[in-house]
């Protein structure tokens, strides 16, 4: 029993810390202080995950599965939360919505993500998903006097709740088909008996719910509207942390059912087609966008497609590639959204052409933005390239060469709209007066950019960690201590 507490220490610490933040904000109502404590909390929880990395096992009556995979995912969530909180302040001040609640809700959302990744039971899976999503609805509607933010929150809420309903019905049917809610026991039940029709319908609904959350085609229509209307830092958070969480849960589910899914040609075909459609639709729609926030939203749809290629490959290499990809994506996408958040003011300066000549005024910021754009496009020395390479290589190994080829073509198309931003920043002369932004934040972006470059140049260590981290997630029947 004490072992259970030790195993789930990061989650317990995060839950406790969110209560601390609530008390702090209720007693002092000072947003700046809550912000500092939220950042400390993310650093603490991330640190605990690093220290506890080798620990693994099932905790609390086999409700939670903790292993390297979960710890790695926790670090990504905390990194995402930390960066978003660090980059939000100026934006929130500009929009007059600098409430301490923002940080608390973001923190609670991260607790939900951690539960989602650590779920060994459908009940935890559902609670984690909802905890994350409900907090994100609040973040989307944070600017409550702004009709655009209201609309974004409304759309996100209605579609998100609808998706949750589908997912929950899926859980119910799987429960009915197997008599179990624990993932590894469901896996045993469908191995001994054969998977019934009821199970497959339930499984389909469950996966549909996840596809909504990761904004895969054909369930992606909400993404551009929600990212466009939400506060920009919140959009960065949704596109990185929430996506990473939904993917970790998806990996947990498919690895548990791997023996069943490997023998099912339909599953492989369906998930590859969805990955293909997501890559194609995301990239083509992004080509037509003038508004950078919408462009990044469609690009996040496309990136969900690349990550789905790893799921379609259904090999440890593919999953490890996705984990690496989510890490790089978290850095580069928060960087890109952060630069947009820094420069935009009251719905101005959102078009790619507004960035004309940025390099002349703010070379460091423009340089960082260029690194993020090139990395998102998948240009070789950068982190984004290694992520794509890993998932596509896994697809080739899994005899899905056509899918990998389509992915490469799709990312070639994507280079156009990413490079357009770079072109405006470097090749055009500035129009109008200089864009003002605090100098300290340029340094923060430069640091993120350096991290993206380092991940591209020295990926081996991280890839070794992701490979090792997956070992435990691969053993569905292993029981706790």
């Amino acid at each position: 029993m004490p072992n259970d507490y030790l195993l789930s220490l990061p989650i317990l610490a995060a839950a406790g810390w969110s209560v601390l933040l609530i008390i702090l904000e209720a007693m002092l109502s000072r947003a700046a202080l809550t912000r500092v404590f939220a950042m400390l909390g993310f650093a603490l929880v991330g640190g605990l995950s690093v220290i506890g990395f080798p620990l693994q096992g099932l905790a609390f009556s086999e409700m939670l599965r903790i292993g390297g995979f979960q710890h790695f995912a926790n670090i990504i969530f905390c990194l995402s939360g930390l960066l978003v909180v660090a980059l939000s302040e100026k934006y929130l001040d500009d929009e007059n919505v600098h409430y301490g609640e923002y940080y608390i809700v973001a923190f609670i959302s991260v607790v939900g993500m951690m539960l989602l990744a650590a779920a060994a039971n459908m009940a935890i899976l559902f609670i984690g998903l909802e905890m994350m999503s409900i907090a994100l609805y609040v973040l989307a509607g944070l600017m409550r006097r702004d009709v655009r933010s209201n609309e974004a929150a409304m759309k996100y809420f209605l579609l998100g709740a609808f998706a949750s309903g589908l997912l929950l019905y899926g859980i119910s049917l799987i429960y009915g088909a197997t008599g179990e809610l624990a993932l590894h026991k469901i896996a045993i039940a469908i191995q001994t008996g054969s998977a019934s029709m009821l199970f497959w319908i339930g499984f389909g609904l469950l996966i549909t719910g996840f596809l909504f959350k990761i904004s895969a085609v054909p369930f992606h229509q909400w993404t551009p509207d929600v990212y466009d209307g939400s506060p920009t830092p919140a959009a960065a958070f949704m596109s990185t942390g929430a996506k990473a969480a939904a993917f970790s849960a998806l990996i947990v589910v498919v690895t548990n059912f791997s023996t069943l899914l490997q023998n099912s040609p339909t599953w492989s075909l369906v998930i590859s087609s969805i990955a293909l459609a997501t890559m194609v639709v995301g990239n083509i729609a992004a080509l037509a966008q003038e508004n950078l926030k919408r462009m990044l939203a469609y690009s996040s749809v496309a990136h969900a497609g690349y990550m789905l290629v790893g799921i379609a490959a259904a090999t440890p290499d593919g999953y490890s590639g996705i984990m690496f990809y989510t890490l790089v994506y978290t850095l580069m996408n928060i960087g890109a959204f952060g630069v947009v958040a820094l420069l935009e003011s009251k719905e101005n300066l959102l078009l790619a052409s507004d960035y004309a000549g940025l390099f002349k005024h703010r070379p460091m910021l423009a340089g960082a933005m260029a690194v993020f754009m090139l990395s998102l496009a998948g240009v070789p020395p950068l982190g984004g390239f290694i992520g794509k390479y890993k998932v596509f290589a896994a697809a080739v190994d899994a005899k899905l060469t056509w899918l990998a080829l389509a992915g490469v073509l799709a990312s070639a198309v994507s280079a156009y709209y990413y490079l357009r931003v770079v072109y405006f920043m470097f090749m055009r002369d500035p129009v109008g007066e200089a864009i003002s932004a605090p100098a300290t934040s340029s340094l923060a972006f430069a640091l993120i950019a350096v991290a993206v470059v380092l991940l591209g140049v020295f990926p081996t260590e991280i890839l070794r960690i992701t490979d090792a981290a997956l070992k435990f997630a691969q053993l569905p029947t292993q029981t706790g201590f």
């Binding site: 209201n150 709740a161 609808f162 589908l166 509207d225």
Partner: protein
């Protein structure tokens, strides 16, 4: 007539379908939200039916979590609807269409 598991499951599937169709065809945000609640409660019914007929407690346990989550969701959802209504004086989702492209 004895009520069997299938009766409950068909009722639950019917309620769920009504909810899904309602979400897709209705235009009032509050009504859509009610339809989502209907979906969740249809699921609850199927959980309880499975739980009862399989003599397994986990399904009923799940229902408590679902009810709690639905309550939290209602709180946030209605707050969003109120914020929107204050700014736009409408909850018809066809008129809520600034974000496009």
């Amino acid at each position: 007539m004895q009520l069997e598991l299938n009766h409950y499951l068909w009722l639950s599937a019917f309620m769920f379908t009504v909810g899904v169709v309602g979400v897709l065809v209705r235009r009032n945000a509050i009504v859509i939200f009610m339809c989502i609640e209907l979906m969740l409660n249809a699921v609850n019914l199927s959980f309880i039916a499975f739980s009862h007929f399989m003599r397994d407690i986990q399904g009923q346990l799940m229902v408590f979590f679902v009810m709690t989550v639905a309550a939290a969701e209602a709180a946030v959802g209605l707050a969003i609807v109120i914020a929107l209504f204050r700014n736009k004086q409408t909850v018809n989702i066809d008129e809520i269409n600034i974000l496009k492209g």
